[in-house]
Symmetry: C2
Subunit: 341 residues, 2 copies
């Protein structure tokens, strides 16, 4: 049941994206043929297959209050999906990722050298964010939505700066939480609150949804980082362990720096600081994170966030059906933690 709804919403979001780009691509081509290609690449990038859980969350909240979908909600879905990809384009570039969901990262889509790819990704990411804001123009009384979009964008970019900074220092678990609070939690706060704002939900409902969004975000974020280090290449769809090689500090690493002792802690610190680590070092980091209990602790914390997320969703007056869908995809995140060890 829940899978059917998720499929349906993914398809709906994709059809909005297609509709938007069919006009935008044409205008861009008239401006300059090369701009037409840029828009084509943007459309292809946004439309790559994959669950669109963040945007779907907004639509679920809307229909969970209003009982049905409408044109404004679809437009909000479009805006959120453009927003999310604006962030991904820059994220891939900064992390020098080569792939994203089965295709090349945006900065790798042009064969004009690295400098051009970088320029294209920076400016096209900006264009996507501007497009998201322009999409909101089709929604009357969108002031609150705009406030949410601007705040979330500032937040996620702040967290990205900190995330990059943490490659150079040793953040505590508390610092990790400060950084992460403005990453996935910020995205899900945005999507849940945007759905609620459009549905004109009451203050109390929004408070529960704001909390639920943050909790869903933490659960996703911690899971995502665990996958990045501990998944196999088959599970991950690209090379895992690149986070370790870059000296990233996900929660399981911040926890390991706290839980590991003596020699093991020093070894972990050494590997993460060296920029010349290879496959053997990645395996060693995984062992160390496991043996000190940090991996299990990170999973326990992710599950705790998932449980809290469900409890907050339960407190809203969303329809039973929508609550079920939320519960089922939150459960999925919590259960999937088992697959990575």
């Amino acid at each position: 049941m829940s899978d059917e709804i998720l499929d349906e919403y993914d398809a709906l979001i994709e059809s909005e994206v297609r509709r938007y780009f069919s006009r935008a691509r044409e205008e861009a081509t008239r401006y300059h043929p090369f701009m037409g290609r840029v828009y084509e690449n943007l459309e292809g990038y946004v439309l790559r297959k994959g669950r669109r859980l963040a945007t779907t969350s907004a639509l679920l909240v809307y229909t969970g209050f209003k009982g049905e979908m409408d044109a404004y909600a679809r437009t909000l879905g479009l805006a959120l999906e453009l927003y999310r990809h604006a962030i991904l384009v820059h994220d891939d570039l900064v992390d020098r990722d080569e792939e994203r969901r089965g295709g090349r990262a945006f900065h790798r889509l042009f064969d004009l050298g690295e400098g051009f790819g970088e320029a294209a990704a920076i400016f096209a990411g900006n264009m996507l964010y501007a497009m998201a804001l322009e999409a909101l123009e089709d929604i009357p009384k969108s002031e609150e939505l705009r406030r949410l979009f601007a705040r979330a964008y500032r937040e996620v970019n702040e967290s990205q700066v900190l995330d990059a900074y943490f490659e150079h220092v040793e953040p505590s678990v508390e610092e990790w939480y400060a950084m992460a609070s403005r990453r996935a939690p910020s995205l899900f706060r945005l999507t849940l609150l945007a759905g609620a704002a459009l549905a004109e939900a009451g203050k109390e409902e929004r408070e529960h949804l704001e909390k639920a969004g943050a909790e869903i975000g933490y659960a996703f974020d911690i899971q995502d980082d665990i996958i990045g280090t501990f998944a196999t290449r088959e599970q991950y769809g690209r090379e895992p362990g690149r986070d370790v090689l870059r000296g990233k500090k996900p929660l399981h690493i911040a926890l390991a720096m706290k839980l590991a002792e003596g020699e093991e802690r020093e070894e972990l610190r050494r590997i993460l600081a060296s920029r010349s680590a290879g496959e053997a070092e990645v395996e060693r980091v995984k062992e160390l994170v496991r043996s000190c209990g940090a991996l299990d602790e990170a999973k326990r914390i992710a599950r705790q966030h998932a449980a809290r997320a469900k409890a907050e969703i339960e407190k809203t007056s969303l329809s039973g059906e929508v609550k079920e869908v939320f519960a089922s995809f939150i459960d999925y995140v919590a259960e999937s933690l088992e697959w990575y060890a």
Copy 2:
């Protein structure tokens, strides 16, 4: 007289920026001490000395209609100045410029390696744009302003993609115009129309201002590119000719490719395509652009845009004093073309 007003508006914009950052810096530091440093660097970057003609143009239009400055206009000034610097941060990064107005480019402000500088510049640029939008929240009925900000941001980023693309091809004068139409012309259309929107100016006034903005933008853009190639190091404040070395295609180059003949045209093409050109080649490019008449033609076109800009300003019902200020800084752009040869 005109200089006094420009000084006064620069000071006013700077005081708004300072007021904004004193609170924002504090909040950022509470979030994470390092974020406080990022905001400090952003404030320093925005506050570097220099004429703030784009933002000042918005304030001039506002007071030219309303007769006086007020808190909303000051807030608009803040938003525009944050907006403009959001663009500059990314622009410096992509062009790998080391300096900006007497200080380091934003991506060079941190001593954590090039990768971190790049990440910081991308994300901090995004933060500045989000801050600009958040600043607009203090202005009631800001829907039109938001539309203008989103459209201008999309436009300038499109033009930046094309500008980067032109490093790899040979754009015609028409293609140069397509690219440039969304760069400085887009910025001045934004600032003039934003001032007009806030002052609730009529449709006809706005049409003249939209045209004036575009014309001012072209005049500035062409002049700016001429400076970038033909100014001395003393005039430019940093190394000139870097545009040639990067294979940039400003108007004077697009014109030269049209006006130069036979051997000279081939030579120009060869130097611009080679990525290993040095000082001697920059000098040779300058000679070739001069000798075929492209430099004079670019100056003539810039002056034509300046004249049209003044004519459009004249058609508005802005106060005589404000018209005079516009005329005087537009004249300044046109006259300063003489200094570069």
